[in-house]
Symmetry: none
Subunit: 122 residues, 4 copies
């Protein structure tokens, strides 16, 4: 696991887990690894994982059975909403940023396309 420097590690790990859920790599109601196991795997301090678990639960992404473990929400709706919100955030930031630079819809499409093409070649 490599963490970039900009965002706090606990946020990056939260996003990792959320994306795994969204992409179906983890199933609804499934038990997560224990915080200690995650900490070992990701080479991170156990307290950092505790924080990740707390925040995920606060967001309704997971829930805790005390003394048993932490589980992914069983609500498919919640996952859908989560995906939608994460996408909307990204889209809003993108549009806002581009419009502030004076780009219009067609410019945006063109830039995305050219960037994707470039990546495809590599």
């Amino acid at each position: 696991m490599n963490f970039d420097n900009t965002a706090p590690i606990y946020i990056q790990i939260m996003n990792l887990i959320k994306k795994d859920i969204i992409l179906g790599k983890m199933n609804l109601g499934e038990k997560l690894l224990s915080s200690r196991e995650y900490a070992q795997n990701l080479k991170v301090n156990p307290n950092t994982m505790v924080r990740v678990f707390n925040e995920l639960e606060r967001e309704g992404v997971t829930f805790t059975k005390r003394g048993v473990g932490t589980f992914i929400t069983e609500s498919e709706e919640k996952v859908e909403i989560m995906k939608k919100e994460m996408a909307e955030d990204i889209v809003r930031n993108f549009i806002e940023g581009m419009m502030e630079l004076g780009f219009n819809f067609n410019d945006m499409i063109a830039l995305i396309k050219s960037r994707l093409d470039k990546e495809a070649v590599q």
Copy 2:
């Protein structure tokens, strides 16, 4: 002026100024307000504005005439590059984020379009 909590204030102000230059609200070679004036207008700590000016100069966006003031670069090319770099940053972040959520090119376009339509209505 209100600043959000996600990015450092000095970065947000830098972007403000850069966007004004890119959009032609400020002209090449034009003199900027003094950092103190900016600090007053934006209700920001003077040291924060000093940092803004330093960083802008380091990036080549502005230059200083000692005892006279700080001026916007006179290089049109520099402004073009700046615009391109800012756009590329935004585009890269967008694509990366959307792909991690499992969206493809067509999804991206659709989401941008629907968001722009929604804003147009309002």
Copy 3:
């Protein structure tokens, strides 16, 4: 049965049983279900029920006949004391909390009344 996260599950179950006794839903001297049966019914870890039984016995609410089972105390006085203690706890917490928020006796009565009225309507 769902348990909230604020209090330990074993405490919540203890209170359940105590209230059943106080309200006469369970009779003095009556035999309780076995801890295993309780555990199944409440979907709770068997060890948790063992703890419930231990604590109840420690408090004198129940007693055990070895090889036979666990029984509710036969002392009516014990039940009365129990009820009184539980009520006093609740009353003390209430008064303490309300006074710390700056409410006086009349405020307390008014708030209780308004809350009861609201529930009665629903």
Copy 4:
């Protein structure tokens, strides 16, 4: 400062601060002591205070000016809501608990009155 054992220290400190605001001991918009100063005064680890500040901000009770300090909300409405919510919590718990023990409105009033009289004497 003495902390009882039941609730986490950070919660107890949060409530301390909230009550000071509600009772007008601290004014709207006022700067709080720094987390380090609080930590010294309350003989608590600085990280514990950081957590207190985080949670208070999350609840909207305070806000942070980065690099400057933490301030009490300027919204009188927020304080009113906070007081109301804290009171409602206490009242709800009280009523629920008493009704589960089989007490009615008049019982509740009588018990509160007798308890207050007892305290007044002491």
